[in-house]
Amino acid sequence: MHDISTHAAAHHGPPTSFIRKHIFSLDHKVIGKQYYGLGLAAVIIGMVLSWLMRIHLGWTNYAIPGLHLLSKNGAPGNIMTPELYLQLMTMHATFMVFFVLTVVPFAAFGNFFLPIHTGAEDMPFPHFNMMSFWTTFVAFCVMMLSFFVGDGPTLGGWTQYAPLSAVGAAAGPGQGSGPIIWALSIAIFCVGQLFGSLNFIPNVLDLRCKGMSMWRLPMPTWAWFITSCMGLTAFSVLMPACVMLILDHVAGTSFFVPSNLVINDQLQPHSGGSTLLWQHLFWFFGHPEVYIAIVPGMGIVSHVLITNMRKPMLSHRVLIYSMGALAVLSYMVYGHHMFVSGMNPVSSLLFSFPTLLITIPSTIIVLIWIGSLYGAKLRINSASLFALGFISMFITGGVSGFFLAQPAIQILLHATYFVVAHFHFTMAIAAIFGIFSGTYFWFPKMYGRMMNDKLGKLHFWLTFIGVYCIFMPMHYLGLAGNVRRYQAFVVDYMQPLVGVHQFITIAALFTGAVQLIFLYNLIHSRFWGEPAPANPWEGTSLEWSVPSPPPHDNFGGRHVVVYHDPYQYGVQSSTGDYVMQDSPEQVKSAHEEP
């Protein structure tokens, strides 16, 4: 009797050399940790860039010490020029959206835990998996390169709207080499993520161990599966768009640049292209991308909450169906980024309806989470606090989306700080809280050591209050008509708002400093944390049935057989109030089958 997974997964023996163990590793766990490290580097860069932006927004003429080191011409006398502000803003968003929010919840945690959750020895194509990390790493390096080439990075925002992004150096500083490097880096990034989907999807469909039906997979695995399906279709549309953008720059084509453009009195040589085409292609990717950023967090939050509530969710399947509905609907709503773009106003109305309807699965998910809390005995620790925080943030972010889903209201709120508030609540806070929750929860398994829970709770408290102080006022700024992507507020009607910006800046710097607690906790625990048992949280899914950290082949040669649904809590068993998925023990559960 053989275990399917050892034959189906490309069986590879434990590595011996240092390079094979830590650098070019085929082990999904090492790859997951490498992704986490990449995400950590990216989030530090993204945060520092945001501090520089915020200082400038509050105090426009302030000379920030050392700023001239960041850019050749962008900060004479350490005072940030308008173009440097836009460049920092573009890089902030690019690093955060791509290299943090797509990488950590999905590639980092997913790579580490998906094979273990399915009971497999590794991902099905370990070489492609290794390539997926290193390709992403190359994309990261290429993006970093843009700081050092020519006038610096592109200043067109992470959305890189044409023709600003396509006409070249004429359009301003950073537009010569900047967009080319940006598009090249992103195209490479897309390839890296596709290699990831190539591993995730067959793992879930083909490498599940004996007894592991699809419905018995834990929530994060469903979330990663749905996310990789989205990634598959979204990234493969962004890549051709980037290719065409590069061609417009270097080959003189006119995919996105129309005729008769005059910049600096010079007639541009392009003709006939469509600027809206870029927007359609970009947002067809862009909207699923934001769900790629949030859905893994939803899976992680469900997982963490269930373990700490000691009872399963009201319905496992409804949560999964709702995440699936989000994924499907996400392709139909992308035009809500383009309501006033000049596309046919009828299309705006057509896009607004699915956008409003997508509220329904989001609401169902939140209601199931809250409803499942009823009757629970929720344990409070760092992981569960961040999971609860996620729910609060997601509610706030979701409600602001309600406004933005309506074209008539976007007349007032489009391109204002209201939008900035909305996407920061959902992505910058909720998704990051999902990452924090996953980190506190899974760190013991990944590194064999416990994180300091006291510091974790302190981190939580200060961050929770801090982020509300930063981003809640942005809604008010948006209502007052404060336009986004402005490096300073010279417009008359925005003058009274500068004080609010200064408040936000102080909150941002404070909250940023608080993250040092997390960084310290990570590093200290990694080397000096209390050794972790195999199952510190008394969890039921397969990752808790293996040592902390797991051996090279995850299950130590054991043939895993799964007998239960993933969240058998609230039962009377020999281990306590739970029974592990791979335990043959028959138990009586008080809870109805979902």
Binding site: V243, S254, S259, L277
Partner: protein, 224 residues
């Protein structure tokens, strides 16, 4: 509700006769009685799912290019009809023929791997034919580009030429990638370590390249 352990329902391994190597599994993940709890003894090799993932990604890429072409055509009055170089039709036949030689290779390999001692089969030969035809296709595409060059049509000359070069070269790059995969398959075959799933995966990819090419040809013919 009591959770009991149900004895695993084993799916019987259907013998598929001499033409199979016995390697590889079944396409169904859910047994015929519909219950996802039943356990399969054999799981399909993940490369079967993997190749569909790859083909889905490539399809979306070309769908994006197609929609770009359609939108671009409508966005300005500068669409200049481009007569497709005649060699494209020859290249099409070459690529389709390579699909035929690939299928012939697969049949022979299946017989060979299942243990038949008929040395006359020479399975690598038909793979070499496939490779040759693949190379001829790529060279033929290059000839088509040169033909357009001689007419003064370069990448940025007009939108039609832009899309022609873009679509044909992206497709040719994927065909080159396929040829690299074919080298790998041939190498494995010569060492008699070729897995059925590897060959199947490659075949799906290669046939998809033909189907994709026929689609592109039609698109270029209709739109350009």
């Amino acid at each position: 509700m009591a959770t009991t352990v149900v004895p695993p329902k084993i799916k019987e391994h259907r013998s598929r006769g001499l033409g199979t190597s016995g390697n590889g599994g079944f396409g169904n993940l859910v047994p015929s009685d519909g219950s996802p709890r039943a356990v399969q003894e054999y799981a399909p090799p993940p490369s079967k799912t993997g190749i569909w993932v790859v083909l889905a990604a490539i399809s979306m890429t070309f769908a994006a290019f197609t929609s770009a072409l359609v939108v671009r055509q409508g966005s300005a009055m500068d669409w200049h009809h481009l007569t497709l170089p005649r060699i494209l039709y020859f290249n099409t036949l070459v690529l389709l023929a390579s699909g035929v030689t690939l299928e012939m290779a697969r049949r022979r390999i299946a017989v060979f791997m299942s243990g038949a001692k008929n040395l006359d089969l020479n399975p690598p030969r038909w793979l070499y034919f496939t490779m040759l035809l693949g190379v001829v296709f790529v060279v033929g595409q290059y000839v088509a580009w040169m033909r357009l060059h001689s007419e003064g049509l370069y990448l940025a000359t007009n939108p039609n030429s832009s899309f022609f070069y873009l679509l044909t070269s992206v497709h040719a790059l994927h065909v080159l990638g396929g040829l690299i995969g074919l080298t790998y398959v041939i190498r494995k075959l010569r060492r008699v370590t070729l897995r059925r799933s590897t060959l199947d995966t490659f075949s799906y990819y290669w046939h998809f390249m033909s189907i994709l090419w026929v689609y592109l040809l039609l698109l270029l013919w209709m739109k350009l």
